[in-house]
Symmetry: C2
């Protein structure tokens, strides 16, 4: 099978018949690109800026669906196409009636395209015009992801927001590599939209396809990527290839370059970012949506994010601190004591990982909710600057 | 320090000044020794027969305190003296104000004496008249448990019900070993009660000391053990050294021998037992209290106990079964589907272990609650016989 470079077909530019995800931009804030919005999907509304807990294999590690909703107050969660495709496999998810039915989460879901995992987890890979051939990290079996089958897989998983298949370059890639890679990603994007337009959602709710803006740390490539992506009838745009080894300064610069070029009336999703400070800085630069494994992964290792700074609960200084984990925390788990949590984490008790993960996710959701409130009140910038000083503290 | 064989002192037979745990025996059932009771402690009432979830290191693995109370409806949980003594250590628990304050569980707690763990987990041990010298399974450090310091440690942990220090013989021990071991356990029991009478609770609530009836599978030793234990002013009695390698028939026989000799007006606790069938059979033989790691440990491995039989969720037959885990289940986790739980367990996702553990504990608590109801209604035996047939099914 050959994919000519100029494979984009005109049909995709015709008005789509599918219902379109709505995005209402409530208010801008003075002296900042920060935005407060509401995304409406068939599984409900998402108030932006928003943080999306990562449910890699269809579960946010250590967290019951009930607690995601009622305690953490998550509005949308992520699933990873790569993981779900390998296990349990799309047939099982289809028989369940889609991921929402499979895991019992009835609010919006976003799936990534699997590109990032193929390049970071797949044992052996071969990248061609056709797609990416990779070996499962689970059983060594061989698989091929193409722009077409990744759209099909995401149709079957049934997320509300799905991602285009892309190549994610490492943070230190040189210009030539980044340019060639972006061109491939752009050709794949054409094929993704073609496949998307030629297929239908499977479970009666609409799906939106977001292009992923690549271009590494090169301003002209990023601008070219946006210009190309804007030619598609996308409901939103993702910014990829950041937080992958480049400096923090470069990450913020590229985010600024991209958000300046993206249409105002569509949500922007910065993939895989990041620390609470990264999130506030990126909200300031006009980003609406975030995901990151940091609150759960770092939580399992005993790192807690709080409004007063970060805590390494393994530190001996917490050994006899019998005060609550976070006196300002919004989760019920914040009532456990620091000394108890330290004991659980050091003893490798599951409950320790559960408590720390739940606390961190509740904190991330509190952070973006508060950012949103400050944006609508018009005092986001001063709040952000005060908050960042506290967030950088090590308690 | 020497401990003469005849170290029991007369003071312990004088009426104790401490408040005594109350036990109200509500109703017997025809043709069975099954009993329904209410134990009153300073941390609230326990309706018996009861199953006590095991919180080895101060946490029931994978379960939040809130869910233990509100979802599983546990009335009393266990802590392990051996584990808590080694980590976090009694100093930290004392500074917290006792285990109730440390882990946030404000209902009754029972601690074992550490004897069983010293013999099963301790790397090297030396058993003398004085006590048991052992090496920590965590860091190899050397420790000595004596009847006296085990009482002191349990005073500091602060459980409502504490256990005497004993030697637990393996199920296949010969008569001579079992007899010598029982004699040691009896001398240790004297010392435990002496220490208990000479010390006070630390946190303002009363504590009750239960002797542990040993004697392996030998009827005369078991009877001698009961006769000796009954000479102490105990609020209840534990039956130890069962479910440690002997046959099931021997376990039931020994339980019958012991409950026939124990006073009617005190609760009986069968330690470390067992399967749902074991529990119903032992309730029938006059046992009131149970603990076992089976619901959580087997749950983590994917085994579910239900009112229709046991499920090995790893089995391929559940791969596409999208029905609830247990349509009769009382826990919110029973609404997850079998196929989803199978996926989580096979993918080694924490949430799988959490769901299975929570389901199993809720099922065990449902089982003893229903047994209690049947006892008070007078139809325990017929219900038990029907239930056991179902419980033995493999679904």
């Amino acid at each position: 099978m050959k994919y000519p470079l100029n494979s984009r077909i005109i049909a995709i530019f015709e008005p789509s018949k599918k219902r379109v995800m709505e995005f209402e931009l409530i208010k801008n804030t003075e002296g900042s690109r920060a935005r407060a919005g509401v995304i409406t999907t068939d599984h409900g509304k998402i108030e932006t800026p928003i943080f999306m807990p990562v449910g890699t294999a269809g579960s946010v590690k250590g967290i019951h669906i009930r607690d995601l909703k009622e305690d953490i107050k998550a509005q949308i969660i992520l699933g990873n196409t790569y993981h779900l495709y390998l296990r349990p496999g799309v047939d099982i998810i289809e028989k369940a009636g889609g991921l929402h039915k499979f895991n019992g989460w009835d609010k919006p879901i976003l799936t990534d395209s699997g590109g990032y995992q193929v390049f970071s987890l797949g044992d052996i890979r071969k990248l061609t015009e056709e797609g990416a051939r990779f070996q499962s990290h689970i059983d060594g079996s061989y698989h091929l992801f193409t722009p077409e089958n990744v759209i099909d897989i995401q149709r079957t998983i049934g997320a509300d927001i799905i991602m285009a298949f892309d190549e994610c370059t490492p943070g230190d890639a040189d210009y030539e590599y980044a340019k060639k890679s972006l061109e491939l990603t752009q050709r794949w994007l054409d094929r993704c939209f073609t496949q998307f337009q030629n297929t239908q959602p499977k479970y009666g709710h609409s799906q939106s396809l977001f292009p992923i803006i690549q271009g590494n740390t090169f301003t002209d490539l990023r601008k070219a990527a946006v210009a190309h992506a804007k030619t598609f009838p996308a409901d939103g745009f993702a910014i990829g290839g950041l937080s992958v080894g480049e400096t923090e300064k470069e990450m913020y610069e590229m985010t600024e370059v991209v958000t300046a070029e993206l249409p105002e009336n569509k949500p922007r999703y910065l993939m895989g970012v990041g620390t609470p400070v990264n999130i506030l800085e990126s909200i300031d630069r006009g980003v609406d949506m975030f995901d990151c494994v940091m609150p759960t992964r770092n939580g399992r290792n005993g790192m807690l994010f709080t409004s007063e700074g970060t805590i390494n609960i393994r530190n001996k200084r917490w050994e006899n601190d019998h005060s609550p984990i976070d006196k300002n925390g919004t989760s019920f788990v914040d009532q456990y004591s620091k000394a108890y949590l330290r004991h659980l984490i050091i003893s490798n008790e599951m409950l320790g990982a559960q408590i720390a993960s739940q606390h961190n996710l509740a904190f991330y959701l509190w952070l973006v909710k508060t950012a949103r409130q400050k944006i609508t009140e018009g005092n986001f910038l001063s709040w952000k600057n005060e908050m960042i000083i506290k967030l950088k503290e090590r308690l």
